[in-house]
Every structure is written in C-alpha cells, then in structure tokens.
C-alpha cells in the first residue's frame, strides 16, 4: 500500500532537503518512494535544489526503471522475469498474471487496484519463481499463489 500519496509540494521540499547531500539519485528515489512516481513538479524541484537543468534531471529520471511517470495502483506486484525464475516456470506465471489482470507489464488495472511490473532478479533465485508484492518478498510461486495475491489486491 502507501503508494497512493497525493502530491504535496511542502512534503516534497522536506524530502529534497533531507536527501540533498546524498545526490540526485537519492533525491529522486525518495520522491518516487513517497509519491509512488515522479510527479511532473518533482523534476523542477530536484533541479532547483541541486542546481541542475530540468533536462539533466529528466535524463536521469528517465534512465532508471524504478522511477515511474504515473502513480501506481493501490498495490504493486513486481514479478521477476530473469533466468532463474524462467527455469521454474516464471514465464507461464507472467502470462497468467497479465491474463487475470487484463493488463500488460508497466500497466495499472482500470480500478486502480494493482500495478503489474517486471523486475529482473530479486535475489530469491534459490526459491524461484519470485515476486515482490507491496515490497514484501514472495517465492516458490505457483498459479494459486499468483491468483491469491491478485485476489488480495482486489479486496
């Protein structure tokens, strides 16, 4: 949960001030974490605080997979698509998840219940296939586990 926090410039400024000394990546990561995405005003805010151009900040923001342009749904399912998970049927689970949710990776269901994301390796390769559901690790996944995570998200 907690991904759905509306943009609040004052809060954002506090975050920027707190992370300022640790560099742009830390600033953007903290804003992305707090608001679930990088709000369009976040770019300008970060640029000003770090004395960079908006273009430079946009360049960094668009480089990293973690930074979202749109706010996610109430829940985020990050399914691993890397080789170890492939070897244990991860591709089939990916097909199942997209079919059950009716969306592709990087998309959010129309009811905003869940955002489905692809991730390449969670370091849970000895208990593949694996996923992060709202930041919590889940492994040895099978079709039932995927269905119950989706059901939980839709509650």
């Amino acid at each position: 949960m907690a991904h759905k926090t509306n943009w609040n410039e004052e809060v954002a400024k506090t975050i920027v001030a707190a992370q300022h000394d640790r560099g742009l990546l830390a600033v953007l990561a903290a804003l992305n974490e707090a608001f679930g995405h990088l709000h369009k005003d976040a770019i300008g805010l970060a640029a000003k605080a770090l004395n960079l151009s908006r273009a430079e900040v946009h360049g960094v923001a668009s480089f990293y997979h973690d930074f979202r342009e749109q706010p996610p749904g109430r829940h985020v399912l990050r399914l691993c698509g890397a080789e170890a998970c492939q070897s244990m049927g991860g591709d089939e689970l990916a097909v199942q998840a997209t079919r059950e949710l009716g969306i592709g990776f990087g998309e959010t269901t129309p009811d905003e219940a869940i955002t489905l994301e692809r991730v390449y390796c969670l370091g849970l390769c000895a208990c593949a296939p694996a996923a992060l559901f709202d930041g919590e690790p889940h492994a040895r996944l099978d079709q039932n586990a995927i269905s119950s995570l989706i059901a939980e998200a839709r509650k």
Binding site: L25, A29, E83, A84, Q86, S87, Y120, C127
Partner: protein, 517 residues
Amino acid sequence: MKRRIFVPRDAGAIAVGADRAAAAIAEAAKRATIEIEVVRTGSRGLYWLEPLVEVQTPNGRVAYGPIKPEDVPGLFACGFLDGARHARAQGNTDSIPSLRRQTRLTFARCGVTNPLSLDDYCAYGGYKGLTRALTLAPQKIVDEVARSGLRGRGGAGFPTGIKWRTTAEAKGENKYIVCNADEGDSGTFADRMLMEGDPFLLIEGMTIAALAVGASKGVIYCRSEYPHAIATMRAAITTAREANLLGARVADATFAFDIDLIAGAGSYVCGEETALLESVEGKRGQVRAKPPLPAHAGLFGKPTVVNNVLTFAAAAWIMAEGADEYNALGYGRSRGTMPIQLAGNLKHPGLFETPFGITLGELIDDVGGGAASGRPVRAVQAGGPLGGYFPRSLFDTPYDYEAFTKRDGLIGHGGLVAFDNTVDMAKQARFAMEFCALESCGKCTPCRIGSVRGVEVIDRIVKGENREANVTLLKDLCETLKWGSLCALGGFTPYPVMSALTHFPQDFGLAPELAKV
C-alpha cells in the same frame, strides 16, 4: 531456562514464510507458557529447507525444515525444544551433509548469529581482521591481500591486491572505498545473504580497505530490489558508528572512515563499476571509457577502490586468518573459496561455499541434486545473464576462472542457473539479446542497436527465414558486440547467445531434431 530458537530473517526465507513460522512459534510457546527467545539470524543458504528453524540444545543446534506455521504445534508436541525426532528434523545443523561439505570462510557466521548484534559478531571472530590490520603498515595490508591471491568476486576476477596497491599509490587527498552491491545477475544472491546475514563483515572489510589505501569515505551501492539488505545494512552502519567502528573516531580516534549506503534504482548496467560510479554521482548510469581506471580517477574523479561485497568480506577473513591460509585453498590461479550460488531448477538450490576446483557436474548433479522437476538438467547458465550456457558435455569443467574462460564461459559472480530438458535454448538466446536491449546504457552502438537487431535475427532463424544467412549474420553481430562495446553488457551478451547456438543448434532448427539430452 529460556530456550533459544533460531529463525532466519533473510529475504529468501521470509519469502517462503519465515516470519509466519516465527510468529507461530512465539504464539505456541506463549500458549504452553514456555519461555523462549526467538533469535532472527541470516540464512544458512540451504534454501530448499527454508524456513529452517533451529533449536539450541545441550548437544548443539538441531534443525527442522521446511517449517510451515501448521507444523509448529506438532513440533512442540514432539518435544523439538529438546531436539526430538520429527518428520521435518534435519539432525544437528552442523552435520547436515550439504553444510558439512562446505568450506565456509566468508559465510562462517551467516545463519549462525544475530546479524545486527555487534556482540555476536565479535564473539564469533568479528573485527579480528581490522584489529590485526591496525598493527600493520598500510603497505603490509596490501601485501597480505595480494599474497592471498584474492581476485575480485564481482565477476571480472581482477587481483584485489593490485587494485588496492594502485589506489594506495595514486596521488590525491580524498580517496574512496566503493562497494558494488548491485548484484543484478539472475542466479546470484550471495551479496544479499551476506548483507542481511552478516553486515558487519562488509563494514569491517571496507574499513580494512580504507586503512590500506588511505581513504576516509565509503559508499555501498545496493540495488533497490533488495529492501531487506538495505535496511539491515543501514542499521548495522548506525550501530558501528555508535561503537566508533565507523565515523571520525575509529580505532581510538586514530583514523576516520564512514560509510553511506546509496540505493540503486533498477538499472542492471549500474553493476558495471564505472556506470555505478556515475550513478552514485547522481547521473545516468552510463559506462565510462577506461582508462582512467577508477583506482586513479574514480568517484568524483578521486582514486577509488571498487570491489564487490564478497571481495571485501574475503579480505576481512584474510586479514584475520592470514593470506597463506586463504591461498592454500583453490585451483590454478583461482585461490581461496567461492560462495557459489546454485539456483533455478534444482532440488537443492542455495549457497555453497567451497574452494575452487570442484567440477560443474558435481555442483549441479551432486550438490544441487539435479533438477527439481525430476527431469534431466539440460543446460546451466553460469555467471548470470552475460554468462554462457553449458551443456552436459561440459560438466567436467572445473570451477575456475581460467577453465570457464577457456570454454567460452565465465564464472562471473558465482551464480549457476539450471534448466531441465523442457528449456528452449533459442528462446534463452533471444532473451539474452532482449535483456541487453532493455538494460543497455546506450553509449555503445553495438550494444544499443545490435541487441535489438539480435532479437530480430534470432526470430528469423527460428521462423526458418533464410536460415543460413541469418546464422552468419548473428555470428557476425556477436563479434561486433564482443569487440565493439566498452563494458561487459554488450561485450558478454554474445556468450549466452553463441553458447546456445553452438551447443543446442537443434533448438534453432539448425540440426535434425535430436532427442533432448
């Protein structure tokens, strides 16, 4: 007497229910009014047994696993607090065959101690390495690491002693120690386990490196996909600061060294050391041309040691126990032990730390127990997404940097991903190109564009379009990627592609369909 029960807090154990098992144990003890202390440890790395619960008995620790919450009442009923027999009992932890066969140097404490207890760390030999390093001249520390034969565990296998020496000799006031904890290779998890299970060891190793080269600032760049490792590492850094093991007054205020942890943001290429440095500087993770080497001009242009988590951890062990002890183990020019990570379709996946020299076949069939699916293992990808696929006919390859290179592969960061005979190797080759396209930093044309073209060419081969000409084109493309890219992403993507094509041509429709394996 309060009974001690150990349950891992490792993300891999939590992912299969360790938190629920720990809660069920606490609840059952409360109901039975038995006083217990649940100690959350790292993982032993025997993942097929996770959640692995251990009980302290007068005869040592006894293990039970895998434990589901519904198993807990039965455990209490059978008297597991005294190490009683149970369907899930594994006997004395130390005598579990898969553990007994290992030579745990780097991972000696992982799974044994409470990772955030500095007392535990010191009671089990922690800070012995730094204590010894403080009695030596910086030059002697470097010599010791060099003499151990330790090579970079991130994947490149560069001699650590030479890297430290170059940084020590580089001119410059501000030097940096950077830890590469951007463990992005699929099939690898040793860095994560170590940071979650024995974080002070990494802090100690980095502190020793700082002492050796004269650095006062350290950075751990940890991937964002590892939230548990980040939290544990940050907590350990805070504890170390409070104990003056980091900060302005380390070692009776004789020197200053502090560490900051920077989280990545989901970019695989940031595991390449120069892209990582760019990322720490708050830029796009774009690879730098070398020279200059990071040892001369690294983070913010200053002399910088960039090493992997396991390298720093091994260095701490070497300082504590001696270079000769470490160097005595190994094979050829690969000295010491390697924490090998067995992953994917295996019965017994997990961490297996062993001296170099064990064969790939022993690791997969014997230690790993063969495929979890019960089918034959057909291919093993060694060294992550940039590593080659090994067929069974190469299972006699000894685990050694040079032996793997000789067979067009790499050991990389020590990951092995097994696939059973349902695998489609043309699909795996296509994925390698697809992954390269997705993660390319965009700097080198062969990697940025060649990877996209590679996916298309493989598609055409599989469809049977002008097959021979397209195979020639794919080989040519791989040569261009290999020689025309600055870093390993573009340079090594040909390994999985070409190994799949060479060893499994039938999957590309190139040879008559052979009976698989």
